[in-house]
Structure formats: structure tokens, C-alpha cells
Symmetry: C2
Subunit: 381 residues, 2 copies
């Protein structure tokens, strides 16, 4: 892989990470959680990069969340051994997580059924370790987890004890907060997430179970929580980079977006008002998360090489290796003059999805456009 | 990477390719094009696999289409040297394509502007080769290309001559055919694609330009064309695997779909009628191509390990590593009993997008479920 010195010379499409913005975003949430006296356990599912993890923890490895056991292996190999695997456990992942624990990784897993407690206990016995798991709590009907008043909550905790699985605590995720876009609604979602998690912990403790960790988190609620009493840790991932979905939710401005896709103009259709670029959905991802928001950003917004937005210029269409730029419908902005070979940067809808389409970050610091490093990303399971 | 012997034992999520279905799909279009006396130039953007390319060409390397120069490098290294790079050329790709040509690869590229002809000529001179390019023709307003009556068509051909670029021929792609779903409309789209391409070639020849190749193609039009007079070659890619979008268009049945994603059940929400699996959009892709069709298939349809569909069971939601299964709204089918650890196979909306989320195929042949091989996929640009 050649190491070009400037965005103007890099082969395209290419994933660009601006560390000025990254550092600002990392600091913002770290300070916020420091203010609450809460542990921040960043979710590495967005960045999937040891270099980004090191940027988040400048004084050495800290607590992280992972979305795959491939991430677990990778971060553990780089010294990040305090981790939560935040996807419900299955037989094959239980066995693999138990082996990681045997190898010295403090991996905590997730479950919400008696069956999973038994599966995990069996995997622990096979590996000669005592597994540790969170019970997943459902705070907003978004996905998995037990409701706080579900009688199964205590059944699962008891089954864990019988199976030899340590209760790490309770974990919930306010996934529905992504659908909100007012400070009031986001503050209420954060308070609900907090209250439900604390209630679940209280119920478990009242039944005699230790429940040391009360873990909540989503990027929107992490930034809008007004109180976190009873919570011990916060998880968030996309806050490192932000994206247009988070902008639509109201968590960030477009100038906070640390991730972009560098692209080259490959043609035009003047009669349709189109400019064609070499970044299609393979480079941008198929994510259309802003389609359900008040402002639909197509497949992304278009900036110049310095990261300045072209007014109302949107990626209105994407096929595999082609993107189509046009002025947003209803706008009276004019199409910029971008001949074949001109370069643009696309701000993505969803940083997790766009990042996953690429093997590495090309690192810049601010608008100057010099590429200072290449940081690999990991993938797979 | 461990090599499991059966789908029941494979780590999940995992990409599964059924070679019985693959071979049937490959044979179907190969025979159809043989019947027309037309060269089939498969688009490798879907499979991105030398093993699949060899399956398409059992008697040695044949003509292919590629969507990236990473594919060009890869297939050339495996002896497939007759290729068309079907994305408009830019300065950095022109230079790289010229170097490939210098190294003995018969790569033909794509352009539709005088500027690109000049860029390509310059790149050819720098590499000491004579580049070869198609002029892209727009047959249905889908994306790039010149309309057949555009005066620039002859300007571009003349500019190519001046720049020392050989005219390989004309190339068009009926991309709008993906939005159709009746045989009549598809036959008309195929005839339009043919007629426009032949008209463009005729116009160029009348102006004194050699125009040896008349290249058309899309999976829907390739299967519905009733006549291909004047066409010399057909391009298609997704036909190898098919997918739910192609099923919605009417090109295949669900039993033709050669690609699926193996997943494990990780939980349930009985009160909502949900089953949770460990395949989210990271494994399935964010593609929601069937959302615009008559039947919206969510993020995919659910099969058992043998590939038999569960009636009306759909992936109704997907987050990064979680999928949610539920019975299709309005159906009176019942949710199957799928406990934690049970395995399913998901038929994807869009084979190109789902494939790109994975590093390799786990190869099976028919419903028996024995995994006979792992075939790598390539990615990047």
C-alpha cells in the first residue's frame, strides 16, 4: 500500500479520518462522564482500530465494549483486556469467550435467558474458568433484553448462580433514542435508560444477588443525560466519529464529523444536474439512516478537500462503484464546477456502516489535507 | 481459519455459497447467450472470487468485467487477462490501467468525455501503451453515458483518435431494468438497450470509426432479451447468485438463490413475536432493495439449514450484529420454534452487497450442508 502525502494524491475511494475532530469528540464525552464520575467504556464497533482505541486511552488500555469476538481477540492482543462483548451469547461464542477468559482476558458477556446461563456455565466448565455475564435489560422495546418487571429476571440470575456464572451486572441500550431529535425527548430517553437499569439492579440486589455494574449507553443518551445516579458506566461508540444520523438526532454539528470518504469525479450529466463520482455504496455503504429523519441526506453530503460543505450538494444516488451528486431538491444552490479528476469528500450517514466498507483509515489532522498515517481496521467475526 | 465440516458446526455469521445453484445459474445464462451467438462477459463485481470465475469458465480463463482495479489486478494474476473495467476512468485509474496494459493485460476502460480521452491518452503515453476504451452510452437515463443522439459522441471518438486511444466499442447498461417486474417491461427494456447500443455503434461507424464491440447488459435484460441483433457481448453479474431483488424483478425463484448467510439464534422476545439472531447488517448489508418492490422482504428471508424457507419468516430489523426475525405482517403463519443456538440461513436482498460484507464463501453443494471448501473473496480498490 502506497503512503501518499496528501488527499489530492491518494487513490480513491478512500476512508479519511480527521484526528482533530476525533480528539475533540473523544474529549467531549470523556469530560462529560468524568463530570458524572462514571466510567466510560467506549464501544469499539465503530472504529475497529487499535490506533483509535489508544487515542481514547492516552494513559494505557482502558475498558472497552466490543461487538464481535474478532474485535475481542484483536484488542486483547493489544493489551485491552477489560471488555464487554455486548451481543447475546450463543453456544459457539460462549466457548470462544470462555477460552479468552482462560487466556487472561476479563471478558464479560451478555445474556437474557436461563438457556444462555446454562450454555455459558457449560462453556466455562469446559475451559476451566468462571464466566462473567451481564443480564441484558430492555429499556425501550428496541431489541433484546428482559423488561425490568419480567419474572424471568430473577430466574436468570438464579440460573447463573447454579451454572457458576458470575453476575457482572445489568446492561441496557436506549436504541430507540436514535429515532428522537429534540433535547427534551433525548433527556427523557436518557433518564428512562438510567432509571430502568438502576431498577433492575435494585431488584437483583433485593433478591440477594451482587450486581456491581450498572451499564447504560447510546451516543444520544450519553450526550443528553442530565443525571446518572446509580449508573456505574456508559457505553457509546459512534460518538468518536459522529455522522449525519447523529447530526439529525441533534448530538453534533456537521463540523464534528471525523470520518469522510474521499472520491474523484468521473463524469457528469449536465442535462440532469448530475456529477458522477467513483464512490458508490461499496465505499459509502448502503446505509440510508437519514431517510427517516427530518432532513434526508441521501447517501451523504459533499465537501471539498478541506472539509467545507458545498451548499446543498448531496449524494442522491449510489450504485456499487458510482455515486451521483446533485443539488438538493428545492434548493436554489448552483452545482459547483467539478470536472473529471476533481476531488471531494463525502460525509456519511452512518460511520459504523461506512467504516466497515474499508480496510484502513487515511489519517489527516484538520483541513490541511496532509496524510500523516494509515491505520488498519479489522473486520469479520 | 478452521475448516468445519457442516453448517451446523460453522462459526456464525458466515457466508454460504451453494454450488449446485451457482452452476445452474451459470449454465442458464451461458446457454442463453450461446443461443444468440453472443459472448458472455460476466461481471465479477458480485462474486469477487477466482474460484467462481473458474466455475464460469471451465475450459480456462474467459472474458470478464470488473468494477475495481483491485479486481483487475487479482483476476489478471490468475490468468484472466481479457477484461473490461466498467467504471468511468479518472486520472489515477487511467495511470493504473495503462500500467496493467503494459504488463500484458488486455484491459478496456470506459469514458464518455473528451477530457477522459485526453487523460487516458496521456496515461497511455506515460506507460508506453495504446489504451483501449469503450464509449459509455446512456440507454435509459440511469447513470452515466452519452445519449445516442448527443453530438459529443463523435467528438469523444475523434478525441480518442487524436489522443491515441483505441475505440473498443460502445457499452451500455440498462440499470433501470431493476425497477421493472413484468416480462413485457423487461423485454422492452432489453430491446431498448440493444437498439440504443447498436444505434450508437452505427453512428460511430458511419463517421469512419471502427467500433468492434457492442456491449450491453444487466441481469434482468440478459434473461429477457428476445433478440440481440448487432450486439456482440453481454455483461451480467448478479445472475451467478441471484437474490431477492432479482426474485422481485421476476428473473429467478427463491430456490435459485445460491448465496445465504448462516446465523445462530441468540434470543427471543415472545411478547413481540421476535426471534433474535447474530446476523445484523454487518453480515447481511444495509441493502433494502426490496423495499421499493411489490413485496418488501425486510433484510431477507429465513430458511432452515437445508435451505427450505420458513413460511413468511422475515428479517424485519437489523442493527450492527443483531437481526430480528418475525412473521410477515398480515400473515397467519406461526413463528417456528427456534431456541438459542438454533441455526438458520438468510436469503439476502442484494447478493453484491451481502457478499461484500464477508471475506470468504463457505461452499456447500445442495441441501446436505457439508462444507466442502472455503473460497476467498477480494475487496478494496
Amino acid at each position: 500500500m502506497s503512503h501518499a502525502s496528501h488527499l489530492a494524491d491518494l487513490p480513491t475511494p478512500a476512508l479519511i479520518l480527521d484526528t482533530e475532530r476525533l480528539d475533540r469528540n473523544l474529549d467531549r464525552l470523556a469530560r462529560r462522564m468524568d463530570g458524572f464520575g462514571i466510567t466510560l467504556r467506549p464501544h469499539m464497533k465503530t472504529a475497529k482500530s487499535i490506533d483509535v482505541a489508544r487515542r481514547a486511552f492516552r494513559n494505557g488500555p482502558g475498558p472497552i465494549t466490543v461487538s464481535t469476538l474478532a474485535e475481542a481477540d484483536y484488542f486483547a492482543a493489544h493489551g485491552f483486556v477489560d471488555m464487554t462483548y455486548a451481543v447475546g451469547i450463543a453456544p459457539h461464542t460462549a466457548a470462544r469467550a470462555a477460552r479468552l477468559r482462560r487466556d487472561g482476558v476479563d471478558i464479560k458477556v451478555l445474556l437474557d435467558t436461563v438457556a444462555q446461563a446454562q450454555i455459558l456455565g457449560k462453556a466455562g466448565r469446559a475451559a476451566g474458568v468462571s464466566p462473567s455475564a451481564f443480564i441484558e435489560i430492555d429499556c425501550d422495546g428496541h431489541r433484546g433484553g428482559l423488561r425490568v418487571d419480567d419474572p424471568k429476571l430473577l430466574d436468570v440470575a438464579s440460573a447463573m448462580k447454579v451454572a457458576g456464572v458470575t453476575l457482572a451486572g445489568v446492561l441496557t441500550h436506549a436504541g430507540e433514542s436514535y429515532a428522537l431529535d429534540t433535547p427534551q425527548a433525548l433527556e427523557a430517553a436518557a433518564e428512562n435508560e438510567r432509571a430502568v437499569a438502576v431498577d433492575a439492579a435494585t431488584r437483583l440486589r433485593a433478591a440477594g444477588h451482587d450486581c456491581p455494574i450498572v451499564s447504560v449507553g447510546s451516543t444520544p443518551t450519553a450526550h443528553f443525560a442530565q443525571a446518572l445516579d446509580g449508573v456505574t458506566e456508559m457505553r457509546a461508540g459512534v460518538y468518536m466519529f459522529f455522522d449525519l444520523v447523529m447530526h439529525g438526532v441533534g448530538v453534533c454539528s456537521t463540523s464534528d464529523l471525523a470520518l469522510s470518504v474521499l472520491a474523484t469525479v468521473i463524469g457528469a450529466k449536465p442535462e440532469k444536474g448530475w456529477i458522477m463520482i467513483d464512490a458508490g455504496w461499496m465505499a459509502l455503504s448502503r446505509d440510508r439512516g437519514t431517510a427517516a429523519q427530518r432532513v434526508d441526506q441521501g447517501y451523504g453530503l459533499v465537501c471539498d478537500l478541506q472539509g467545507r460543505l458545498y451548499p446543498d450538494l448531496v449524494v442522491v444516488g449510489a450504485s456499487q462503484e458510482h455515486g451521483t451528486l446533485a443539488i438538493r431538491s428545492g434548493s436554489n444552490a448552483t452545482l459547483p464546477d467539478l470536472p473529471v479528476g476533481a476531488r471531494v469528500r463525502i460525509l456519511p450517514n452512518h460511520a459504523c456502516a461506512t467504516g466497515s466498507q474499508h480496510e484502513r483509515y487515511h489519517v489527516v489532522a484538520g483541513p490541511d489535507g496532509s496524510v500523516t498515517a494509515e491505520w488498519p481496521r479489522i473486520r469479520g467475526w
